[in-house]
Symmetry: C2
Subunit: 192 residues, 2 copies
């Protein structure tokens, strides 16, 4: 993998954007925050929020970036289905592959080896109600197990598998705190 330094964010060779559909302010802030933090920790460079706008969520992620190192950009998308349609209909060679995580899809560990790795991916994580069109506009509908569980777990397992376990090895720029592995305590270094 080649490391690139793009606008202060040190990235691995993977180009991963995570799109969260249908965020609801009253109900979803913690789950969506976990989705963004998993994206950040496991190799995604962009997190795109759709549904309700949520400045507080963005400021939480910004604060994690400040403390633990920059590694994830966030933005809001008002028309996520239009965004996906435009990607799907694009003629560009380098257009991203759309991967929809859904409990109804095909088994992730069987499908992932068939997905080209030389292109960027948009990983779509559904919300409460997902439009049927999403199944058609996506290049792959992938299930992380066919039982109800958690979009946070599904995203983490997908990213781990997609990055061949390398997701957690991504680097972060300018951290204030660095946590190192420890057998039975806490090893936290403050970077001055």
């Amino acid at each position: 993998m080649i490391d690139n330094l793009i606008s202060g964010v040190i990235m691995t060779g993977f180009e991963i954007e995570v799109l969260r559909l249908g965020h609801r302010l009253g109900r979803d802030p913690r789950i969506t925050t976990h989705l963004a933090l998993v994206s950040r920790a496991m190799g995604a460079s962009n997190f795109v929020l759709a549904g309700d706008e949520d400045e507080k969520l963005f400021s939480n992620i910004h604060s994690v970036n400040e403390r633990f190192g920059h590694g994830l950009s966030c933005r809001y998308e008002k028309s996520p289905m239009r965004m996906l349609r435009e990607i799907a209909n694009s003629d560009e060679e380098s257009k991203p592959i759309i991967i929809h995580l859904t409990m109804y899809g095909e088994p992730f560990k069987e499908v992932i080896p068939n997905i080209p790795k030389d292109k960027p991916v948009v990983v779509v994580v559904g919300g409460a109600k997902v439009p049927g069109e999403l199944f058609k506009v996506s290049d792959f509908n992938i299930a992380v197990g066919n039982q109800p569980h958690s979009e946070v777990a599904a995203l983490a397992l997908f990213l781990d598998s997609w990055t061949d376990g390398e997701g957690f090895n991504r680097e972060f720029s300018e951290p204030q705190l660095v946590i190192s592995p420890s057998k039975s305590g806490k090893d936290v270094k403050e970077v001055l």
Copy 2:
């Protein structure tokens, strides 16, 4: 792996109990529900809740068991640290191994091969504040990445690795609904 039929729950050879510490009624119900659903979907047979009691959470899991098949028992534990201390101090050969998931621990993929697989495990998932004693009473303090992200993601990645990817192959007894993999739609069977 040998399949056992225990009190109506078809289990794989793994004996996994997940203990969630410090549940807070006002803040945690969705995250803790996701923890329980991940436990159920990925091979745990017991989910133990500590912190605030939460009948609604148990009834949600019961309802998932009813619809998608029985596979997880839930119980509340008032004194989780005493429970763990008793396990740690027990002389019994068959006592469970205590595995604490924490962002401060050792890398999970390096540690897991060193954990004996012929014993039951209690996987401890911390809450907002974790007593320092937990690091000592645990046989293993395991980090799923050393960045802040999500206890739901950490549990899922641990269980996937611990069960060698077999967690999702567990079976459930008497489901009313069965979801099968599909390339671009929903394949839901109702069992009458």
